[in-house]
Amino acid sequence: MKKIATGNKAVAEAVKQVQPTVIAAYPITPQTEIVEQIAEFVSSGELKSRYIPVESEHSAMAACIGASITGVRTFTATSSHGLLYMHEMTNWAAGARLPIVMANVNRSIGPGWNIWAEHTDAMQERDTGWLQVYVSSVQEAYDATLMAFRIAEHNDVLLPVMVNLDGFTLSHIMQPLDTVETGDFIPPVQLPHAIDPKNPAGYGGLTGPDQHFKFRWEIERSMRDSVQVIRETEKDFERRFGRKYDFTEDYRCEDADVVIVAMGTLGKEAEVAIDLLRKEGIKAGSIRLRWLRPFPKLNLKGKDIVVIDRDYSFGFGGILAKSIEAQQKTGVYSVIAGLGGQEVTYEDIADFIRKRRIGEEFWFGVNSHV
């Protein structure tokens, strides 16, 4: 069904489609519209979930954990400080192998209070065992949320999935949205370790080094296995609903001498920059990285690489740039841009590519090379 919706509304529509049994959430700008819309769907009866209006994000994730371990589908949404506040529990969710799905509306971290888009919030969760996908349109926010449930709940994965959408530049903009009937695309949850009082077991108790080590490895093994599950899910989605997704969205890369890598809305904006540069005769392409975890194998051999980071690891560098340098075993031109919702146009992005200085780092907001 065709409609017009914001990124936030699209997430809520997807949640309505998959009908989680329990939703626990706490409001935070710019995610608020998701929980408001969900509350409305629950109130009108369109969504048959138990909606727990918890008193904090820490409790939101804890409630999702408590619900999920009984074997039911769960969902929450947050942003920025809310995500950091639940950090202890995000680790718990992954360690407990619970297929919780969460939408995170990417926003900067204070102080000072800044409510606009930045990826630092989700980036700080990258080592928790959550799968992370970053979207760039209202339609993709909807589609990725749907697929997140199937991927998380797949028994080869059983890890939580975070769907990331940029605050305001995606959460609050309106675009066309085509909703679907998922049917058997998302099968019912079958949690193999669901709590059963008839078969009592201890969960998450004292664990020695040998067993702990084994559990850590099992998280990593499932993270690796999730690559295949993501591929299958995205292929099946394309077959059923006609929209194609992959680990990356590559744009005019085949014959490119230089590629720019970015995530979220900036990754989409980069495509306009590529068209501009191609008109000037510059053979440039763009790669919008969709999945941060599991991190895909990129093939950028022989090309100049420019990376936009909407995040930073102080004392180290742009997190995406450093990851790509490590994987490709080569230097990149690392551009730190868009922090705190800083406006970055396609002309700016074209300039990053034109004026690239491989091996250097450029802080766009303060116009400084370091």
Binding site: T21, V22, A24, R50, I52, P53, V54, E55, S56, H58, S59, A60, A62, A63, C64, I65, G66, A67, S68, I69, T70, G71, V72, T74, E88, M89, W92, I195, D196, P197, K198, P200, A201, G202, Y203, G204, G205, L206, T207, G208, Q211
Partner: protein, 295 residues
């Protein structure tokens, strides 16, 4: 139920816990689970119970136990209860938490869960300090008690968590102590008959923490009640009734020193602190008696 023989023989706390000798936590849980029965899930935040259940892959408890981070028990139970009820299951969801996980780090999640009317039973077994980390002070530590972080004795009073819970108006709340097993058993059974949140605050005398000899745990619980330091009561839909044992103690209490003297943690308590403790005790009894008279 007047005799202990009427308490079911079925054991859910098995004989392989790693509890300290004389542990009131294990004893309390034994009666709690006998009252709750098989269709029960325990939600346990970091506390002594995280330790005494044993090391993976073994467990000493014969009901499912969901261990969760320190500040998250009530929120976790809130999700679990909603999931069970949404799928038509009547399974008891019982938070079994220490005083640190209740009065201190878990208070926000607990307040939220009570305010939202979560259908669960929250049991706080209170050994008046952080036990499994080696006895550091908590909000539950009484004034004058020495802990590893109050080596000269605590200068602040014990937090009145019962008043805080009462402010949430749960259908049922009570105090108890494993030194009175029939009373504890009956209160757990009763609490589980209410829809919505219920709360039981259990005093759990701790031999290594309070520094008394291990065979005296039950005796310490009785001295606490007889001195009036611990008042046994229940509050049903706001109506308070004090237990006969505590009514008798209020009428004719034993000297407070009889309760304090066997405990190494109160050794060398100064006269001024002792007087403050006494005043605190008297104030609490006066408040509860007045409320009981009005109920």
């Amino acid at each position: 139920m007047d005799t202990i023989a009427e308490i079911p023989k079925e054991e859910f706390v098995l004989k392989c816990t790693s509890a300290c000798a004389g542990c009131s936590d294990a004893l309390t849980l034994r009666y709690v689970l006998k009252a709750a029965g098989q269709d029960t899930v325990l939600v346990v935040p970091a506390c002594c119970t995280s330790v005494i259940q044993g090391i993976y892959p073994n467990t000493a408890f014969n009901v499912p136990v969901y261990n969760i981070a320190f500040g998250a028990a009530a929120a976790c139970a809130s999700g679990m209860s909603n999931a069970f009820r949404a799928t038509g299951k009547k399974t008891n969801v019982i938070v079994y938490a220490g005083d640190g996980g209740t009065l201190d780090i878990g208070i926000q999640a607990m307040s939220g869960a009570f305010e939202r009317g979560t259908d669960f039973l929250y049991i706080c077994y209170d050994n008046e300090a952080y036990g499994n980390t080696g006895m550091q002070r908590s909000g539950g530590t009484p004034m004058g008690a020495r802990t590893t972080t109050t080596p000269a004795g605590k200068t602040d009073a014990k937090k009145d968590i019962d008043a805080i819970i009462a402010a949430h108006s749960p259908p049922y709340m009570a105090t108890a102590c494993a030194a009175y097993p029939q009373d504890l058993f009956k209160k757990v059974q009763k609490a589980l008959t209410f829809r919505g949140p219920s709360f039981i605050h259990v005093l759990a005398p701790c031999p290594p923490g309070w520094r008394f000899s291990t065979e005296k745990s039950v005796e310490m619980g009785k001295l606490a009640v007889k001195s009036g330091m611990w008042v046994l009561y229940e509050r049903e839909y706001g109506k308070l009734s004090i237990n006969p044992q505590s009514k008798a103690a209020i009428k004719k209490p034993i000297p407070l020193e009889d309760y304090l003297a066997p405990q190494g943690r109160f050794k060398g308590i100064d006269a001024k602190t002792l007087e403050l403790l006494r005043q605190h005790l008297a104030k609490n009894i006066k408040k509860l008696s007045a409320e009981a008279a009005e109920s």
